[in-house]
Symmetry: D3
Subunit: 117 residues, 6 copies
């Protein structure tokens, strides 16, 4: 199974279990999290890039993968992507390099599934 499918399937399956536990605070928090990235004063694309850079400096591979997936759907170019990586590495330091490697690997998997034009 591709890295992309594996990530998405696990994510959906576990989120279902978490939401199924009926903890109101967690349910509302998960809901809020998806709301934050909708079009507003800032376009969705900018917000996804904000989510991506925040995930990189906080060094969360799964959060990076999630935002890479959405960025890919929104048609972010590789050049734009690397400018986000550059800021993440400068602000967060060389400790972000291993996460950048895995991000590049995941982006290749996204491209293999659905190449951008």
């Amino acid at each position: 199974m591709s890295q992309v499918k594996e990530f998405n399937e696990y994510r959906v399956a576990m989120n279902d279990k978490i939401l199924g536990a009926n903890n109101k605070v967690i349910k509302r928090f998960f809901n809020l999290d998806t709301n934050a990235y909708q079009d507003g004063a800032l376009p969705m694309k900018t917000k996804e890039l904000l989510g991506l850079v925040a995930s990189m400096v906080l060094r969360c591979d799964d959060c990076i993968r999630y935002h890479l997936g959405t960025c890919h759907e929104l048609g972010i170019t590789e050049e734009e992507l690397y400018e986000v990586f550059a800021i993440a590495n400068l602000v967060g330091g060389s400790i972000c390099i291993p996460h950048t490697r895995r991000a590049v690997e995941y982006w290749e998997a996204l491209e293999a599934e659905a190449p951008t034009a």
Copy 2:
């Protein structure tokens, strides 16, 4: 091998090696770490929940697994567990969500081995 056994065996084997190296500071630090969770003014159960929430906001999967194991032995209910997850996610942010997923998966493995009544 179950996720629980694999985690515990690796943990014990590597701790033995670390302690075998005879670095006094590390030996005393490891010893102190187990002491901190004993019954005191606060009961052991509360202390394990404190250890769990601290591990979640600092986003250390292995530390989360360790405290989930002890919480399970102490009879923490799923409802209590999710209230800890809720606080961890609110204080630590959505960056804790992937760790919550893996925590839920590990809790299921603990339940599969020794179901709570």
Copy 3:
């Protein structure tokens, strides 16, 4: 002005400004944050200790002050408090010591205002 009053006044004044900006995500997030510490499967007191230990290991002095204030109102004893400090310092490391110093100073200010019996 006492450290406690200064902290509370600034906190309330700025929260009012933030909520006044009418960003829905932030308003709902702030609301959710207060909900997470209500009595539930776990009592409010335990939840405040969870909030305190999470704030200490993430090293946020203002968050620590907020939870110390609530802990004080709920009648947490000094002995219980130090057991939370002990776990925070062990899990989070000596990097938490300066925050522990400021926490002790703030607790003294709380005691000076409204001594526990």
Copy 4:
């Protein structure tokens, strides 16, 4: 002296001392840091927002202040600003709230000095 002037003067004075020490790695690192926010595939405005959100989730008040200053010069609106705050608080958690308070205070100081039209 205004909060803005005080921040900028200290920042410039200390940067001069740091660069005056003639450590090549630091000099090149500081230089690189200013390069990363130039117009490129992504416009400077987006990059400043990326720098701001990264600074918020990493909880560095001075870094936040620096990017708020540049965002203000670039004409970022308050509505856009709060959408960045919303994402930072969701990704980074309630631990970012005290930094959001100080960010709002600093933004007010920037507005007092040079109100946006």
Copy 5:
């Protein structure tokens, strides 16, 4: 009062209070912390530099001040110091720059009190 004296007096006064609370885990942890920097396979000077770089990347100003004080006593040169700053900034990112500024300010205060030959 000089920045150095103020820091040291507060540090000693609050440590005394913390140790006076008689929490065994905290007392042993504080004791262990001072033990870790004694001469061993690595000389004390190297260990203090390790403590300094760790404090910088974890961005704890008071911890940085403490290690700067000891480094100053041990005769660390400014050139050596800046090489530590360089590594801290590269590994930890530009988020460490404001802490570097305050570190340089504190080092100047140390020099003003007791200039190195």
Copy 6:
């Protein structure tokens, strides 16, 4: 394939891809990162230990592996290594223990490939 070879091959392959993307900021940042550990006022060995302890307290397994590799080449002894681990665990807390376990495992793999005399 040994853990060491697997790590190094992935690292080199992904770095090549990242550098191949021709983002100037990232290229210069990667270049700077290798420069920071050259002999200077502080010897290379001390700098590698600084890189190692910074990687441990920031809890980046791949960064730890990279510095362990260089430390091994430079002939760092096990006793010296554990003194670095001790400081990392004290400063960074028990949250560093799982990373210490994996560091010890990787060091064994390095020793298996090229035992120190």
